[in-house]
Symmetry: C2
Subunit: 402 residues, 2 copies
């Protein structure tokens, strides 16, 4: 092999999705290994709308591990980043030693350059760490030739990242072992299972930065007796019910469990001392709109769920999307001179009846919602084969950087 | 006795206080008898600031029972009103039969005219039903010559009314019996026990009428698993701790339990399906101000509590009132052309340091609070001996009415 080709970086690019929990994860029993106090279940969102792209290059010419996130170099020594790097390298070494001593091992001692971007604004407050760590771990695994179960490694980057390792409907089984080996994500159903299901992300204009989820859940675990009860006594049954609802594609059951679980999560935040508020007046109005919409139709056609931030995620069946978008536009009139209000999957126009408006009967809240992302369930992480999509150039540095 | 004096009504006037729970009552195990799913504890507010006055007249010339509330005749057939009337008459009959058959019984068959007013606006959203039913039962008892335990009767008018039958610090023991005979209020300490304790009611400008507490707690009992856990497993310990904090006059312990219990009550409302919101953006800001104020001083000097409405009740020791009022005026700038901002017990002026303002560091919320009522713990129901205070004239009809 000519020397110049040995210096040329080995480059891999992958993408990974965002996921939204419908049975929420809140609280760790082990901070270091990121082991949760309860199991959780999520829907993987489609990467056409929301994804992280990560390129990793290895080269013997690199002096040190480095990382660039959304165009800015960040500290590679971040403990959770280091956990993922260490675990992947450990698995790679193990594989070489155990399985196939003949495997090329030059890459193992090489340093990595990591470059990662999201196709959505960070300011949108969408949980980007799950997609980010899932993508990091998936890409690292490709680079170092590691195969098999990777969700336990992604989990050590960010708990919910383990669920972004699969497409469709994914459970994170809390596990029992102290070393966390059984705290893994598992696909419940693939993304093709429920094609009628649609997901709208209502991006709210945040009034102020909320408490971060890491410190928030620490305080909750320490101070909320309701959280302990939830984890021990409520979630196990809810996981079983939710899996059944997903498998049967029972929208009403899925929707009610989703709303109840979101509310219970926020209830445990309020039972935290000092209390944590993630639901603001816009969230409360969205919740009221959804319940009144459902009451108007006498059936559960919409479900909301809120994470540790102001955005709402709304589930519905495909046929109900156009009218619901009208409802949102009516009760949250957008800025008239802003950009497009609906992004993502196209939405047909629809009429909004006076009866429905009156039955909802709330005062419109102008500018409460910045825009809507229309999406659906999607696949897990993918390798990008087109080399023009790499974020690192053949020199191993971010393309476009000085 | 000349005939005209027999036609002249027998008139009694009494007053009764409002109370504010620091361990909350939320949820009934018996709707008819109003038996709660957990015990609760409250502070009786001073009647100089907040009270109900009720005059009851009996006369053999009255054709039927009638009631006027705040100047307007209301339906006497309201079931809870009927419960109180029936129970007092039953006790009066029992007393006559058992104890003293010679007692004058003419009054027993006579009809009553009831007239009741509050010395605070109903629109302020202060729980007036507790003071109202306590006053009704206390006055009826005087009219019919009934003595002894009356809280179990007041309880059948409005659950929390039983706690307004005593002054100071009062517990409502949930009881175990099916007939509710052991579900009673009991004084923990008299109003003179903790003279340094001050209470400010921050009257919020409500944005919309919230869900009523009767239907709210019904839905919570049916749907919230966290409420059941709270009632069964959290409240018993909290009652013991709260009684101890009150007896020791340990403000920090009292304050923290008060805040935690308010938060947990609102958490169970959020865990209700559909969820119930009583805390709005003003409440959230008050909560944040209180925690940041306490953090600034490194000690718990303030406690908030919120019932099923937007008003906040703040507890503090006397020496901290003047500065706290400045804090409220700074972070909730009142309308400049409105009436007085502070009502009730006089409050000295004070300075507000830049450090404190900065440590609280929140954006002021204009007009979030309409006014403050400054008060303290006070006595239970009283008989008004001055006949000029009667609300019914010698004809048995409201004074001033046409």
């Amino acid at each position: 092999m000519p020397e110049d080709s040995m210096d040329k970086p080995n480059i891999v690019t992958c993408t990974a999705p965002v996921n939204i929990a419908v049975v929420k994860y809140w609280g760790k029993r082990d901070e270091e290994l990121i082991l949760p106090i309860n199991s959780s279940l999520s829907v993987t969102l489609h990467q056409d709308q929301l994804k992280t792209t990560t390129t990793i290059a290895t080269s013997r010419s690199f002096q040190e591990d480095r990382i660039w996130l959304n165009g800015k170099e960040e500290d590679i020594n971040h403990p959770r980043l280091q956990s993922c790097l260490r675990e992947i390298r450990r698995l790679a070494r193990k594989r070489r030693n155990d399985d196939d001593p003949s495997l090329d091992s030059t890459g193992l001692s090489q340093r990595v350059h990591i470059c990662s971007v999201n196709n959505f604004p960070t300011a949108a407050g969408l949980a980007s760490s799950a997609a980010g760590f899932a993508c990091l771990v998936y890409t690292l695994a490709r680079v170092f030739g590691v195969e098999g179960e990777l969700s336990a490694i992604a989990r050590q980057g960010s708990g919910s990242a383990c669920r972004s390792m699969y497409g469709g409907f994914v459970q994170w089984i809390m596990g029992e072992k102290e070393d966390g080996k059984d705290s893994l994500a598992q696909q419940v159903e693939a993304e093709t299972h429920w094609p009628e299901l649609r997901i709208l992300v209502l991006v709210a204009s945040a009034e102020r930065k909320p408490v971060g989820s890491t410190s928030g859940m620490q305080t909750s675990v320490k101070t909320s007796s309701l959280l302990k009860h939830r984890a021990d006594s409520v979630v196990p049954g809810r996981m079983a019910d939710m899996i059944e609802a997903v498998q049967k594609k029972d929208f009403a059951a899925f929707a009610e469990l989703t709303m109840k679980d979101s509310n219970q999560f926020h209830a445990t935040c309020l039972d935290t001392y000092p209390p944590i508020f993630y639901l603001n007046r816009v969230s409360q109005q969205i919740i009221n709109v959804v319940h009144r919409y459902n009451r108007h139709y006498g059936e559960t056609r919409l479900a909301y769920t809120f994470d540790a931030g102001p955005n709402a995620v709304i589930f519905m069946l495909k046929q109900h999307v156009p009218e619901f978008v009208q409802v949102v536009q009516h009760f949250f009139p957008p800025e008239t001179n802003g950009g497009q209000f609906i992004k993502g999957l196209p939405v047909n126009s629809a009429a909004l009846s006076e009866e429905l408006k009156q039955d909802i009967g709330l005062e419109p809240m102008p500018k409460g919602i910045s825009y809507i992302i229309s999406t659906k369930a999607g696949p897990g992480p993918c390798v990008v084969t087109d080399p023009t999509q790499h974020l690192l150039g053949s020199d191993g540095f971010p393309i476009g950087s000085v």
